[in-house]
């Protein structure tokens, strides 16, 4: 299966873990995954992005206009992933916002759900917004937003099946496994509208 995904977020949101779980689940399902996390100074709250692909390709870096799905764990960060989106590709955005401190000077420049919707609509794409931080808090910890978005991703794409995703979460995460699994299902449920119980 050929598959290209660009995920964006900010340091501390768990993009690496998010990417690792997808790629490991893909590996377990027999596809040939690779991923690249561009972290730079992410430890200090900077932008982080991850390119995840499966198929025959040799390197994980995706060219512009080739991503089947772009996704972000923070509202404004989706803008970094836009150039990678292919025509007809899907867009998944967490509505969690963390304003870069520069934006505190000009908050009007920070995008909103509406401005992003308009922006994508003009280009023929319709983003799906997920209140990942709200869902994560309901589950019990804001830190599981990445798993919420993972659940949402699996629900919109079927890139891996839910069983192997959950199994991989259990194998990969060392502490707070249940809350992470719960976050995954809540994200999945948010998109599919089905109650996993």
């Amino acid at each position: 299966m050929e598959f290209n995904l660009v995920a964006a977020g900010i340091g501390g949101q768990g993009i690496v873990l998010f990417s690792e779980v997808i790629a490991k689940a893909m590996l377990a399902e027999g596809s040939n995954p690779s991923f690249y996390v561009h972290s730079g100074l992410a430890q200090l709250g900077g932008s982080v992005s991850s390119h995840i692909r499966a198929g025959d390709r040799i390197c994980p870096k995706i060219t512009h206009g080739c991503a089947d799905i772009i996704l972000s764990l923070e509202l404004a960060e989706i803008l970094h992933a836009v150039p990678y989106l292919k025509a007809g590709g899907k867009v998944l955005v967490s509505t969690y916002t963390r304003m870069p401190y520069h934006s505190t000077l000009k908050p009007e420049l920070y995008p909103t759900v509406d401005s992003l919707t308009d922006l994508f609509r003009e280009g023929g794409a319709s983003p799906v917004f997920v209140p990942a931080d709200k869902i994560a808090r309901e589950v019990g910890h804001v830190q599981v937003q990445n798993m919420v978005m993972l659940g949402a991703l699996v629900a919109v794409s079927n890139i891996v099946d839910t069983e192997s995703a959950v199994k991989t979460i259990r194998e990969t995460i060392e502490s707070g496994v249940e809350i992470n699994v719960e976050g995954f299902w809540k994200g999945y449920e948010f998109i599919s509208g089905k109650d996993y119980n």
Binding site: E2, G11, A23, L27, N32, S34, F35, Y36, V37, H38, S39, G40, L41, Q43, L44, G45, G46, S47, R57, I58, C59, P60, K61, I62, T63, H64, G65, C66, A76, E77, L79, H80, A81, V82, P83, Y84, L85, K86, A87, G89, R98, M99, P100, Y101, H102, S103, T104, L105, K106, P107, E108, L109, Y110, P111, S115, L119, G123, G124, A125, V142
Partner: protein, 647 residues
């Protein structure tokens, strides 16, 4: 000069058992398998995880260390190789500048046990001062260099490098770029560890302690090695056509490293194997030019794709009609991304309608949104992602509660108008607080402050205050000789050593100040204050970085001492927030009645836990560890501690 050669690359168990590994982890696996016995490194992005990963392998006969700097790492590893063991030194590309002294000499003396120097380049640059190309330094030193195309290949090349190193008794540089180091992909299972001979140093002063006369002989030996290597199948076998081709025609590509990987993907995507023959160079130096010319001589034009400079392009330009950086087809600076490769290939092969062809096949289509000027969303975004909506990328910033922010604020407050010399580490971000004016290289904060001092001593005007800021790990790395020099020469300025007890920027590796070792075992600590005093400093203050009044007073007193002609050092100490196990204090409260939304705390102080909203400043409790410094920063007194500050 023909050492007993170890067997070829160990056989690996076929199929199955693949793990998803970082390129750096793959290289660590290679080092373990190849029987590396001594490995030394100084942490630096993108190379850091190599030694961290190697430390997770259980091997009794393996010494690992975070050396104080890269020069020392190379010297430690080199001695082990001279004793006959396989060794490795690991660093980022600017680290090789520090280690260039031993490397140049080591090329002459050579080694006995295999020695691999892994130097990770950072085209971009994403987290470095320069975009320098390590291959050029390898050439200058006369040391072979290997350029891996994929992470798995980087692991294989560790084995290959040891074989070359031992056959020619020379250190070998393995040069992965950032995209190799930080990519993850499936890597085969760990094979059995090669068990080489134990230590047996053979004394030979003409070699190991050579005087200039013998150095001339050694230089001759080095040149003979470099002449022989390119025709050795062990070396030349690494270079060749990616897929069989007819061998002549209009145009072909010559590529190395990740650029070759991108070219492979793009050629495959386009199904243009025949039209775009690709020659891959895995050993760029010493290059068997004859082999390359034999294969590519029949082509009229050659596109060269490589990182970071036009190395192969310049080597081959007199033998082949090359294109690339020298004729502007590839940008001279910045990373060679798949998009750069794609554009260069299109332009070179003159395939103007390629995009529409791909579009028809429904694959790899460049997004309509971006290429169609009429679509609105595309163009602004394609120029600079995010620019359309005005959102800047989240810039890196010091963490909420970072003790460095307190130090910078105190420095700005007590020494306004000073020249602030900065250094390399998280605290380079003091730029955001206006408390860093210069950043040159590791340790330069101290010597630059001294240089400014001597420059302004010649001025008739009022004395110019000067303050340097350096982190603890950087101080041990390159600051110590600079401080000895400043003291001995009689320079007088304020030096703030921001001591968070760790090498935070690269992921919190231990420093000599903590005594902790890479192995996790307890070593001997080398306390910072003893080193500072040992450098001859008489005026030293040690203060809690989060005790803002005490810190300000210390810097203020130090500034007065510096004005009197004393070298004055303040150690501003508090653990890195990434390492604290309990809160620094309670989350302060903002009185929105008093807050005037002046922006001093959000803009100038710049703590990410503080956000300006319509009614004033709010504190994001999830982010705030409670350092309480914003209480001191607020000019109107709107921020206060609810339960008083801790301890």
């Amino acid at each position: 000069m023909s050492p007993d050669l170890p067997p070829d690359n160990p056989k690996r168990s076929p199929g199955g058992g693949h793990r998803l590994l970082l390129g750096n982890e793959a290289m660590a696996q290679g080092l373990y398998e190849a029987g590396c016995r001594v490995a030394a490194a100084y942490p630096g992005t993108p190379s850091t995880e190599i030694l961290e990963s190697l430390s997770t392998y259980q091997a009794g006969n393996l010494h690992l260390e975070w050396s104080v700097n890269e020069k020392i790492a190379v010297e430690v590893a080199a001695a082990a190789s001279c004793a006959g063991l396989r060794s490795a030194a690991v660093m980022k590309q600017v680290g090789l500048n520090v280690a260039l002294d031993p490397l140049m000499s080591l090329a002459y003396t050579g080694v006995v046990g295999g020695m691999v120097i892994i130097v990770a380049d950072d085209p971009g640059p994403h987290s470095s001062q320069t975009e320098q190309d390590t291959r050029l330094l390898a050439m200058a030193a006369g040391v072979p260099v290997l350029d891996p195309v994929t992470p798995e290949e980087a692991r294989e090349m560790v084995h290959q490098a040891y074989l070359i190193s031992e056959r020619y008794q020379t250190p070998v540089i393995l040069r992965p770029v950032l995209r190799i180091c930080h990519s993850r992909g499936p890597v085969g299972p760990v094979s059995d560890r090669y068990e080489g001979p134990g230590p047996a140093f053979v004394k030979d002063t003409n070699r190991w302690a050579a005087t200039p006369r013998h150095r001339l002989t050694l230089h001759g030996e080095l040149n003979r090695k470099l002449e022989k290597m390119p025709s050795d199948p062990l070396v030349s076998g690494m270079n060749g056509l990616w897929r069989p081709s007819k061998g002549q025609g209009e145009a072909a590509i010559l590529a190395s490293g990740t650029s070759a990987a991108y070219a492979m993907d793009l050629i495959a995507e386009r199904g243009m194997d025949e039209e775009m023959p690709l020659f891959v160079v895995r050993c760029p130096w010493p290059l068997g030019e004859e082999g390359v010319v034999e294969t590519l001589g029949g082509f009229k034009r050659i596109l060269v794709l490589e990182e970071t400079g036009p190395f192969l392009e310049i080597l081959l330009r007199h033998r082949l009609n090359v294109s690339g950086r020298t004729d502007g087809l590839v940008p001279s600076e910045g990373e060679v991304t798949p998009d750069v490769v794609s554009e260069a290939m299109d332009a070179f092969f003159g395939i103007s309608n390629l995009r529409s062809q791909i579009s028809k096949s429904g694959e790899g289509e460049r997004e309509r949104l971006l290429s169609d000027p009429g679509s609105g969303i595309g163009n602004p975004l394609s120029e600079e992602p995010g620019a359309a909506a005005g959102a800047k990328p989240s810039p890196p910033t010091l963490c909420a509660g970072c003790p460095h922010r307190s130090s910078f604020w105190a420095l700005k407050k007590t020494m306004p108008g000073a020249i602030y010399t900065g250094d390399i580490g998280c605290y380079t971000l003091g730029i955001e607080l206006g408390a860093v004016d210069t950043v040159l290289c590791m340790g330069a904060s101290i010597s630059q402050a001294a240089g400014f001092y001597w420059a302004y001593r010649q001025s008739e005007g009022p004395a110019q205050p000067i303050a340097g800021v350096i982190g603890d790990s950087t101080f041990y790395h390159a600051g110590v000789p600079a401080l000895i020099n400043a003291v001995q020469q009689g320079a007088a300025f304020v030096l703030v050593i921001v001591d968070n007890g760790t090498t935070a920027m690269t992921g919190c590796q231990p420093t000599p100040g903590t005594g902790e070792l890479l192995s996790g075992k307890e070593g001997r600590d080398v306390p910072l204050e003893e080193v500072v005093r040992g450098c001859g400093v008489k005026k030293l203050w040690i203060v809690d970085a989060l005790d803002f009044d005490a810190l300000s007073n210390s810097i203020s007193t130090a500034a007065a001492a510096a004005a009197e002609g004393e070298m004055a050092v303040v150690i501003s100490r508090s653990p890195c927030v990434l390492n604290i196990t309990e809160r620094q204090g309670a989350v302060p409260a903002v009185d929105l009645e008093i807050c005037t939304a002046c922006g001093v705390c959000t803009d100038r102080f710049g703590c990410p836990a503080l956000v300006m909203e319509e009614d004033g400043v709010h504190i994001i409790a999830d982010l705030c560890p409670g350092c309480g410094i914003c209480i001191e920063v607020c000019p109107t007194g709107a921020i206060a501690a609810p339960g008083g500050r801790k301890g």
